[in-house]
């Protein structure tokens, strides 16, 4: 069941009409049942896996809390981690590693026949596994008390708005909301409806309209382009993935608000970032924060000198890339962003030390402001293009089987640096939809407080978004990109 399907709208209508009639405990029971129905709609066989992961981590956390001996606590944590990583590793990475191992053996003249299994990837496994893992780690660290009622924990893990594509909400944020009664106020409901509309707009108008162009650009026999189309396809993918994923997150947050829940922000203004650090503070924030808190900082963070910081950044980003999928392209994407972060950190520290030593002559105030704006804009544009090159690596990872990922990347890189002699007919729509995406990022804070807008602005925005969805949207039931992760 995807958010942009008719069956989901019917499902939602039923859930909401029941929800507003029930009391707190009954609400939770109904939401858990609804969430399992929602998940089982794809493939009922994976409902068992979701239930197993949930109950296993619930049990581990209870034991962790009950144990007073640190060694045994550690053992339970390791047990929980190992089980979660085994589940995700088996479903997501087995075939990739088996294939890579065979290739490696063949390259040194040895033959290894590992069975390649036809493993179906359970939708959203990376999201709910990380969600569940964060809970046990927090209980181990003593940041959180283990949940007594399994129903609350089941709701925390399986709550359908975030179940299949996030945001990855920390237990400390969501569990209290599951435990305590929720009464959504009028502003919350109004904001929730608006966020849902905005999310649908981003998905069906921005993402799904650009999707055929991206598919075409990454299908065989098209690249290399010599008329600027290479950049247009990369811009299109940048806006497609933004529209798709941030649209999903908006719908998820909107749905949660309709039921009185509050989810964390997952996107702010990623394409208005000036550097990779800022980008990761604005893009898929819940994953960035998860990786920072449960990987980067435990690895040592920036506490043990420059080289160690660089290593930690690289490891974090490579694993972050692999979280998206088993493939060399995702690994390369993670590596790319790791290098960007390392270079940025090195550059920043160098700049800081130079800035402390030298005193530059300061220009007059007005020109200084103008220069600063100009510099800001140029840096944003430059970094957006660097991000697009990263997206090239990422998109190559989802090319159909049989495509040479390296070939596609090479053919794009060949033309990206060439000055185009003409522009293709795709320029106008990509710029139009891209500008919409940029506008929504620029105004992301305002988008979150719709109920505080003036009435005529609300009216115009709602009418425009509804008209945009109905007249420019694509309704052929396309799925969300991040479901595959």
């Amino acid at each position: 069941m995807v958010f942009n399907s008719l069956v989901f709208l019917i499902f939602l209508a039923v859930v909401l009409s029941l929800y507003y009639r029930l009391k707190h405990r009954s609400q939770n029971i109904m939401l858990v049942i609804a969430s399992y129905v929602f998940y089982g709609w794809w493939d009922w066989r994976f409902v068992g896996l979701l239930l197993f992961t949930t109950l296993f981590d619930y049990w581990c956390a209870m034991r962790l809390e009950a144990e007073s001996e640190p060694a045994r606590k550690k053992w339970f944590l390791a047990f929980s981690m190992a089980m979660n990583l085994c589940v995700i590793g088996f479903f997501k990475y087995y075939n990739f590693f088996a294939g890579s191992f065979e290739q490696a053996m063949q390259s040194i003249g040895m033959k290894a026949d590992l069975p390649t299994l036809h493993i179906l990837l359970p939708v959203g496994i990376s999201f709910y596994t990380f969600l569940s893992m964060s809970y046990t780690i927090d209980v181990y660290r003593g940041h959180l008390q283990a949940v007594r009622k399994p129903l609350d924990f089941m709701l925390y893990v399986s709550f359908f708005p975030h179940l299949v594509a996030g945001p990855i909400i920390r237990a400390k944020d969501l569990l209290p909301q599951c435990r305590n009664p929720r009464v959504p106020n009028q502003d919350q409901i109004i904001n929730g409806i608006w966020l849902c509309l905005l999310g649908y707009f981003k998905k069906v108008v921005i993402a799904d309209r650009l999707s055929p162009l991206v598919d075409w650009g990454f299908s065989s026999g098209h690249a290399p382009f010599h008329d600027g189309t290479s950049w247009l396809v990369l811009y299109a993918f940048a806006f497609q993935i933004y529209g798709d994923f941030s649209g999903y997150s908006d719908i998820a947050r909107g749905l949660a608000r309709l039921m009185g829940f509050e989810f964390v922000h997952n996107f702010k203004a990623p394409y208005l970032s000036r550097n990779p650090a800022e980008f990761w503070r604005n893009w898929h924030i819940s994953l960035s924060v998860w990786l920072r808190d449960y990987l980067y900082i435990p690895l040592g963070g920036n506490r043990h000198g420059t080289l160690s910081t660089f290593r930690n950044l690289m490891v974090t980003m490579i694993l972050g890339g692999l979280w998206h999928g088993a493939g060399l392209a995702y690994l390369a994407w993670g590596l790319f962003h790791g290098i960007l972060l390392v270079v940025h950190r090195a550059w920043t520290s160098l700049w800081r030390s130079e800035g402390a030593n030298g005193v530059a002559a300061s220009p007059p105030v007005i020109s200084r402001k103008l220069l600063s704006h100009l510099k800001h804009a140029l840096v944003v544009i430059l970094f957006f293009h660097i991000t697009c090159v990263g997206w090239l690596l990422f998109r190559a990872g989802s090319c159909p089987a049989g495509f040479s990922q390296r070939g596609i990347i090479a053919s794009y890189l060949e033309t990206l640096w060439a000055i185009p002699t003409s522009w293709s007919g795709f320029m106008w729509p990509v710029l139009l939809l891209g500008s919409l995406a940029m506008l929504l990022q620029w105004k992301h804070a305002a988008m979150d407080s719709f109920a505080q807008w003036r009435t005529h602005r609300q009216t115009f925005a709602v009418a425009a978004v509804l008209t945009g969805i109905a007249s420019l949207g694509v309704f052929e039931g396309s799925s969300f990109i991040y479901f595959q992760f």
Partner: protein, 432 residues
């Protein structure tokens, strides 16, 4: 702040009233003046598809007035709803959201009215990159303004469109018989039934359809239904046994389109706003994926033409179409056409026999209002006459059209005095 200031409302009412009075008094004078000024432009823009420019301008003036009146009426409705919401305390926080929804609904009502006008669809007209839906809507409205003694309407799928050139027909016999092409690519029998019900047909109209095996035995239904399928078609679809042959998504899309005109016209709006290239990139990709070699393409596609249960549905729907056309006093000319010889060779020969048998049966039971014309007797097509497996190229389209014109002239169907029976009494000319 008020959405709709009172003074503006009064000014709009005065403007609309004055416009109505002006047009009532000097309708023909204004139209003639405008037509005189823009005659050349209209002829160029329409490519010879506008019969009478004065009548055309008159029609547009009337449309403009109707749209202005509707817009004003909707504006006033919006104002009243806004005032009503202001008075209700409980609705204050949600007023913007509710008014947004109201504006969206009112806008849809306005678009529903606009969709019946040439003025609206002209905004989507693009000669270089044809928007079939917009063209169809424009021609459908203009059909009511034809001044020639008789009208011929071309219906069918893209084969009819590629076989008969309406402009050439009108150049040759437009004074006596004005031809309007209202085809839809990918249309099958049930689609034509849906479309024909929507066409402003009159007694004595000649409905011409080019048919080949791909029409009756081909697959790929749904494209037309997603634009035209409506509530009134549901009983027919059930009764004719066609429910299984349409994807639910396309039927659903058609039904939603009936209540949300903005959604109904989404392809035209998207093409206009985002450009033809982006909206059609998927289709272009599919076209590019087809084999260039027609022989191998035919080898793959010919076995797909089968006379299964879908053929029964096609026959039933087509029979009902012809019956409805006859009931409306129309003459139906069905041209049993051909496909590329490579396709024809590889196809099950029984299909042609079956199709001809069905068409002959239609003629026999049509009470003189149905005529079957064997396309091969006009024109025996060779491989070089086709641009792909099913469509004529420009030259063969011209030749085929000339033959059809000769046929219509010699059958006296192109004259207003002729009756449906004249057509059947006529000897079909042999191909050169």
């Amino acid at each position: 702040m008020r959405f709709f200031p009172k003074r503006l409302e009064v000014a709009a009412i005065v403007l609309v009233a004055v416009s109505w009075v002006s047009v009532a008094v000097a309708d023909s004078v204004i139209s003639r003046m405008v037509a005189l000024r823009f005659h050349g432009f209209l002829a160029r823009a329409s490519g010879g598809k506008i019969e009478d420019s004065v009548r055309f301008i008159q029609g547009r003036l009337r449309e403009l007035l109707i749209l202005m009146t509707v817009a004003l009426a909707l504006w006033m409705v919006g104002t009243r709803i806004d005032r009503m919401l202001r008075r209700r305390d409980g609705w204050q926080r949600a007023r913007g959201l509710v008014m947004g929804l109201v504006v969206f609904i009112l806008f849809n009502v306005f678009i529903a009215f606009s969709g019946t006008t040439v003025l609206f669809w002209s905004a989507f007209f693009n000669k270089a990159q044809v928007d079939n839906f917009a063209q169809y809507q424009i021609k459908r409205v203009l059909l009511t303004e034809v001044g020639a003694p008789r009208r011929a309407i071309l219906i069918g799928n893209s084969q009819t469109n590629r076989s008969i050139n309406e402009v050439l027909m009108n150049e040759r016999i437009g004074k006596r018989l004005w031809t309007t092409e209202l085809t839809q690519p990918g249309a099958h029998s049930f689609d034509l039934l849906t479309l024909a019900r929507d066409m402003p047909l009159a007694k004595g109209d000649i409905v011409i359809c080019y048919l080949s095996e791909v029409f009756f035995f081909g697959s790929g239904r749904g494209g037309v239904a997603s634009d035209f399928f409506g509530l009134r078609e549901i009983p027919d679809l059930v009764q004719l046994g066609g429910w299984d042959w349409y994807a639910p998504a396309s039927l659903r899309s058609g039904l939603i389109g009936q209540v949300l005109p903005v959604y109904h016209y989404r392809n035209s709006i998207s093409q206009k706003a985002l450009g033809w290239q982006l909206v059609n990139v998927g289709q272009a990709r599919f076209d590019a994926s087809l084999e260039q070699d027609l022989e191998s393409q035919a080898e793959r596609r010919a076995p797909e033409l089968k006379a299964g249960k879908n053929y029964e549905f096609e026959k039933a729907a087509f029979t009902r179409l012809v019956r409805e056309l006859t009931a409306r006093g129309c003459v139906t000319v069905l041209i049993a056409g051909h496909m590329h010889p490579a396709m024809q060779r590889r196809m099950d020969p029984g299909l042609r026999k079956s199709m001809r048998g069905f068409l002959d049966h239609l003629q026999a039971s049509g009470g003189g209002s149905v005529t079957i014309v064997d396309g091969a007797r006009f024109f025996e097509p060779a491989a070089g006459d086709f641009m792909d497996l099913v469509h004529f190229n420009d030259d063969s389209q011209r030749r085929f059209t000339c033959k059809l014109v000769d046929f219509l002239l010699s059958s006296r169907l192109a004259s207003s005095a002729s009756s449906p029976e004249d057509l059947n009494r006529h000897q079909i000319p042999n191909a050169p």
